[in-house]
């Protein structure tokens, strides 16, 4: 997987006991980007150049994905958030903004709560949050049948092995409104990333920690965040519910639905998302 972006450099950054793959470029106040399942840092590639005009952009592969380590444990969102904070500290950033999508959005929320002193702005893109009042009701929604499948131990790894492309392509296109948003090579790239030793397990572990994440988040939300929060979702996915959802966790929430879009905001509507994030961070 030799995917590179002009003006960005790749680094392996030690954070605690794991090595995290970071892609860094641009100038200005730092912004860290956190991808979701079944993806890697590459999901941001369309908007990273625009964001880098005004920010130092750090896109990482989460523990368990891409070129980052896949240890046996530590996939709850609090630990993943600790990985991210360690990377930012190692890169010399004490204060930074965070933008997360899908699982990465859950990590971003955990990061904002655990390092209130460090996180200046929080942007959440299309994901339900553990700790949300609707979280448990979600598990009977056929739209997220994969939650239960991914949470099942051991068996999904066996069923997915060798069929990563089938799974990733179905996963992406079932949850896309704009079926032109992903090039065949993008899907192939995510599938190959998932097929790397340990990565299928790593990605699934993000789901197996949901009960812990839910308990943690219920505790965190007792003291809501006061930093600015941007909550965006596709109008065909979580857009209609996402602002109300984040208002359970934070006092200063803006955002709403992105039209003609489902789950893959940075790839389906890159121009709008880049503009919205830049405007939010400038405010």
């Amino acid at each position: 997987m030799s995917m590179t972006l002009d003006g960005f450099r790749h680094r392996m950054v030690r954070s605690g006991d794991v090595n995290i793959h970071a892609v860094i470029g641009g100038d200005g106040p730092p912004l860290v980007l956190l991808h979701g399942f079944p993806q890697t840092w590459w999901e941001w590639h369309k908007i990273m150049p625009s964001l880098a005009v005004r920010h130092t952009v750090v896109a990482i592969d989460l523990r368990g994905a891409g070129h980052s380590d896949c240890p046996q444990t530590g996939y709850d969102k609090a630990t993943l958030a600790g990985d991210v904070h360690g990377v930012m500290e190692a890169l010399g950033f004490d204060r930074y903004a965070v933008c997360g999508h899908d699982i990465g959005a859950m990590v971003a929320l955990a990061l904002a709560f655990m390092h209130r002193e460090a996180v200046t702005h929080l942007a959440i893109l299309d994901a339900p949050m553990p700790g949300w009042s609707e979280w448990e009701a979600l598990f009977t929604d056929p739209k997220v049948w994969h939650f239960a499948f991914h949470m099942k131990r051991d068996l999904p790894e066996r069923l997915l092995a060798g069929r990563e492309y089938d799974y990733v392509s179905t996963f992406i296109f079932d949850r896309a409104f704009d079926h032109g948003a992903h090039a065949a090579e993008d899907v192939e790239l995510y599938a190959r990333a998932l097929a790397q030793p340990g990565n299928t397990r790593g990605g699934l572990e993000w789901y197996r920690t949901f009960p812990t994440d839910h308990t943690n988040a219920i505790g965190w939300k007792r003291q809501p965040l006061t930093i600015p929060v941007l909550a965006l979702g596709g109008d065909h996915r979580y857009g209609p519910r996402i602002v109300a959802m984040l208002k359970e966790f934070a006092t200063d929430v803006s955002g709403g639905s992105i039209a003609n879009c489902a789950h893959w905001l940075p790839e389906e509507r890159p121009g709008e998302i880049a503009d919205a994030v830049l405007k939010f961070l400038a405010g």
Binding site: F139, A148, F149, M151, R163, D166
Partner: protein
């Protein structure tokens, strides 16, 4: 095993070719409906135990085993109609019906639509949409992941294709409700089910039993407004669903007895055939005189 009956007969109905086994030394007609992801083979140990007193009919359900794999009609209302076609084609008008697992859903749909044609209803380790099955599929309340997976669409077939043994073995030996005695079902038995599931159309059909649960939910809600009149027996496994089958069936039937089979997982017909045959024969004998005459 020489007590097992392996001859399958075939019979054509309006829209199906049915494969079934029949053993008739006794009088009481009884139809046994297997569960998922199995075939009529699941009853192999029960057949000889019931046949001295019963006329036992054991079909492969539509989409399973050697029976046709139709393109559509996997809602239990339609499946029950197809099973009734077989029963009538065999010259039977009124039968006792026993269903295990999803076979219990079909048996209920049959008994609810044609109550006067069902002398006894036996519900083994099963649940019903609208009457408790929703909790079994809610993983936030300890339910199982496989409902959502099986219902997801073509991706389910794609992931299991070529891995049928892994899949069946997983279910039959799963930690939560799987076999109590892991050796009560052999590798050869699981291979048999896996091969049946590997035939073209078999995975699609098998998952379609799940994809139609939303339709069943609506049908059951309608039927459930009238309690089943016939004598009903709910059989649970100590290491399976326990008392849940009885709790479900008490919501849809008026005359319910219960039995709990000890030291058995979900697959009672294979794990504890002697105990199961005994509770079924006792139930048929006790309830015989009180059953309304046709």
């Amino acid at each position: 095993m020489n007590t097992e009956i392996d001859v399958y007969e075939s019979l054509r109905t309006a829209d199906m070719r049915f494969a079934y086994q029949r053993a008739r030394s006794g009088e009481i007609p009884i139809v046994l409906l297997h569960g998922w992801p199995q075939t009529s083979r699941a009853w192999r140990r029960l057949l000889p135990l019931l046949s001295s007193q019963c006329d036992v009919v054991v079909p492969d359900l539509p989409g399973f085993g050697y029976t046709s794999k139709p393109e559509s009609g996997f809602d239990k209302k339609t499946i029950a109609r197809r099973v009734r076609d077989l029963v009538q084609a065999l010259g039977l008008s009124r039968v006792a019906l026993a269903g295990h697992d999803l076979g219990g859903h079909v048996a209920y749909a049959y008994a609810a639509q044609w109550p006067e044609e069902v002398s006894h209803f036996i519900f083994i380790e099963s649940s019903l949409p609208s009457f408790g099955q929703e909790e079994a599929m809610d993983v936030s309340k300890g339910g199982s992941w496989h409902f959502g997976f099986n219902m997801a669409g073509d991706i389910s077939e794609e992931l299991v294709r070529g891995r049928e043994y892994l899949f069946v073995d997983h279910f039959m030996r799963r930690e939560k409700v799987g076999l109590y005695d892991s050796e009560s079902v052999s590798t050869a038995d699981i291979e048999y089910y896996a091969r049946a599931l590997a035939r073209p159309g078999a995975l699609r059909s098998s998952f379609s039993y799940y994809r139609t649960l939303p339709i069943d939910r609506v049908d059951n809600r309608t039927w459930g407004q009238t309690l089943l009149p016939m004598p009903t027996l709910a059989v649970g496994a100590e290491w399976g669903y326990g008392g849940a089958s009885a709790q479900t069936v008490r919501r849809v039937a008026s005359d319910v007895q219960e039995a709990l089979i000890e030291r058995s997982g979900h697959y009672i017909p294979e794990e504890r055939p002697d105990e199961l045959a005994r509770v079924i024969l006792d139930f048929l004998a006790k309830s015989h005189s009180t059953a309304p005459l046709v």
